[in-house]
């Protein structure tokens, strides 16, 4: 006997599998193999940098696509196709439905990101082994692991954002809003710098306020650092990013549940 949230989450996961969402992994692996073959001419350090960076960037890119496009469909499709009627007439609260949808896509992304990380590490290992044989272990860039974790947290935030928009808006608008949010969120550090340089006081505080309200994805972007320094992200940074992401996601889910609770399904 499962909790309804889990039931819905597992079904959402099954849906994305049957909709062949995970096929993007094939593309990712092909990309990795092609890149690995191409970087053979570079020196070892560069090899690891290029592959780590490319792998993590692709992981973020595919992940954001899934998070936004599938995320928006999560609720919208159920309302549009009226499958939601049957489900919400069963003994579960509307917020449980929202949570189930969120965790379902989170699970899809977890599988997606994990497979990608494993493939990426495998590629890095093969490259290191080709040069250093038995001493290869010390040359593998394990920094991609914490960087991957941060990317995953970032993706969960994007899912929560897409879910919020799709709970009250049309798919097209939701997509536009989500993409906009993602871009602004990625540039939010620049937004802060810009805001501080402004003289006009109301505009300044408006922008600073916006900086705090909008998601700050720079907390999660360690792709360049990890690729270059060949180092782990510090534990404190990971902790901070995790807490930040969880709080932000909770806030969005509460908001989405409130909006969804009020809806009339026509």
């Amino acid at each position: 006997m499962m909790n309804p949230v889990l039931v819905i989450a597992l079904n959402t996961f099954r849906e994305s599998v049957r909709d062949k969402v995970l096929y993007n992994l094939l593309l990712f692996v092909l990309l990795l193999i092609a890149a690995s073959l191409l970087v053979a001419e570079l020196s070892l350090n560069q090899e690891q940098i290029v592959i780590a960076r490319m792998g993590l960037s692709a992981m973020l890119f595919f992940g954001v696509l899934i998070a936004i496009f599938i995320g928006i469909g999560l609720v919208y499709k159920e309302i549009d196709k009226r499958t939601v009627y049957t489900i919400l007439a069963k003994p579960l609260c509307r917020y449980e439905f929202i949570l189930g949808k969120f965790f379902g896509l989170s699970l899809t992304l977890l599988v997606n990101c994990s497979v990608m990380l494993v493939a990426l590490l495998a590629a890095l290992s093969v490259l290191a082994y080709r040069r250093y044989a038995n001493q290869a272990f010390g040359y593998i860039n394990f920094g991609v692991l914490p960087a991957g974790l941060l990317i995953y947290l970032e993706l969960l935030m994007v899912v929560a954002i897409a879910l919020l928009f799709s709970s009250f808006s049309t798919p097209v608008l939701s997509t536009v809003f989500s993409v906009l949010f993602y871009i602004i969120g990625s540039l939010s550090q620049d937004l802060l710098v810009f805001a501080r340089s402004i003289r006009l006081v109301p505009a300044k505080y408006l922008l600073i306020g916006l900086y705090y309200v909008l998601p700050n994805f720079s907390n999660f972007n360690y792709i360049n650092i990890v690729a270059h320094d060949f180092h782990f992200v510090s534990g404190r940074k990971i902790l901070f990013a995790t807490v930040y992401a969880l709080l932000y996601i909770c806030m969005l889910l509460v908001l989405t549940s409130v909006v969804f609770q009020k809806r009339n399904f026509k």
């Binding site: 006997m1 309804p4 079904n11 009226r82 919400l88 007439a89 069963k90 003994p91 399904f265």
Partner: protein, 321 residues
């Protein structure tokens, strides 16, 4: 008798434009009670507000005002849903699931134990005639099959009360008969059934009591037999070989008269006129094909309702048909 459903002055205004200034009243102070163990027919023409009512009861939309209780609990209390089954209007389900997977999903939402659920799914698939389709994805289902799987999911929790929004729509004659049989067998097992329809014959066969909805308002409610006794039973006579002259004469006797492929269709108000009609037909060397009573009550309600909405006058029960 215990009350299974109690609706009290339920009203729903839909906002039509974006700003919510224009409103349409889809349901107007609807009050009614359904008793336990009843098969209750919820009748109304297209757009009368049947689906609106049922959606409110299922918590899918919120009423503008008014309240309702199902099995003694307010509709906002989701615990009452444990004992309720619901078949939406022209249902659509997750098309990537097979019939069995979908029913398992629904059963899991009710937290039904695994072994119990497996048995029940088999039983339900047999009941709705989908055994052969158990492992087929719902995207490959026809409209009638979707309707059937919809009925199966509505019964997955062995509910005390079942709400069905047009359970017969999309079904062929065999399917309709099967759904009737299902409803009857549910009643025999003591379930309460509330279903909406605009098909009168379904109601006449199945229902203990009916409510008739007209533009969001309750136009009538009660025991079918009581309501029918109040009105005269009209009769329909089909005759053939009737010439023009005879038709004219018959027209004086009949409520309505109409040429059909098989002859003339003559409607009369009561049995008293039957003798004279038969005489008249025979006088003109015609033959009687059939004579049968027509219960017009429900039709009356429909037609009257529509007439009233058009010109505010009660139309004649049989004009139009």
């Amino acid at each position: 008798m215990q009350t299974a459903l109690k609706i009290d002055k339920l009203t729903k205004d839909y906002t039509i434009d974006f700003f919510g200034t224009k409103k349409k009243r889809a349901l107007d102070e609807l009050s009614l009670e359904v008793y336990e163990g009843e098969v209750f027919g919820f009748l109304g023409a297209n757009g009368a507000g049947k689906t609106t009512t049922i959606k409110i009861l299922m918590g899918l939309i919120y009423p503008t005002s008014g309240t309702a209780e199902i099995l003694g609990r307010p509709i906002s209390d989701i615990s009452s849903r444990r004992d309720i089954g619901f078949l939406p209007e022209s249902p659509y389900f997750y098309d990537y699931l097979t019939a069995t997977e979908f029913l398992t999903y629904c059963g899991n939402l009710f937290r039904i134990e695994k072994s119990l659920l497996r048995g029940r799914i088999k039983e339900l698939l047999r009941l709705v005639g989908l055994e052969q389709a158990a492992d087929i994805q719902l995207r490959k289902f026809s409209k009638g099959m979707l309707q059937r799987i919809g009925i199966a999911q509505a019964l997955i929790n062995d509910p005390k009360m079942v709400f069905m929004d047009e359970p017969m729509s999309g079904l062929d004659p065999i399917g309709r008969r099967e759904v009737r049989d299902i409803i009857i067998s549910l009643r025999d097992r003591g379930k309460t059934i509330f279903f909406s329809t605009h098909i009168l014959s379904d109601v006449e066969v199945l229902c203990d009591r009916v409510a008739i909805l007209k533009q969001g308002k309750l136009a009538g409610c009660g025991r079918l037999s009581d309501l029918q006794q109040q009105s005269d039973t009209t009769m329909e006579v089909v005759a053939h070989n009737v010439d023009k002259e005879a038709v004219e004469k018959l027209g004086e006797l009949a409520v309505s008269i109409r040429q059909t492929a098989s002859g003339v269709n003559i409607r009369i108000r009561s049995e008293a006129e039957l003798e004279r009609v038969i005489q008249a037909v025979h006088q003109h060397k015609g033959g009687i094909v059939s004579v049968y009573p027509v219960k017009t009550l429900l039709e009356d309600f429909f037609i009257k309702g529509e007439k009233q909405s058009e010109d505010g006058v009660c139309g004649h029960p049989n004009s139009g048909s």
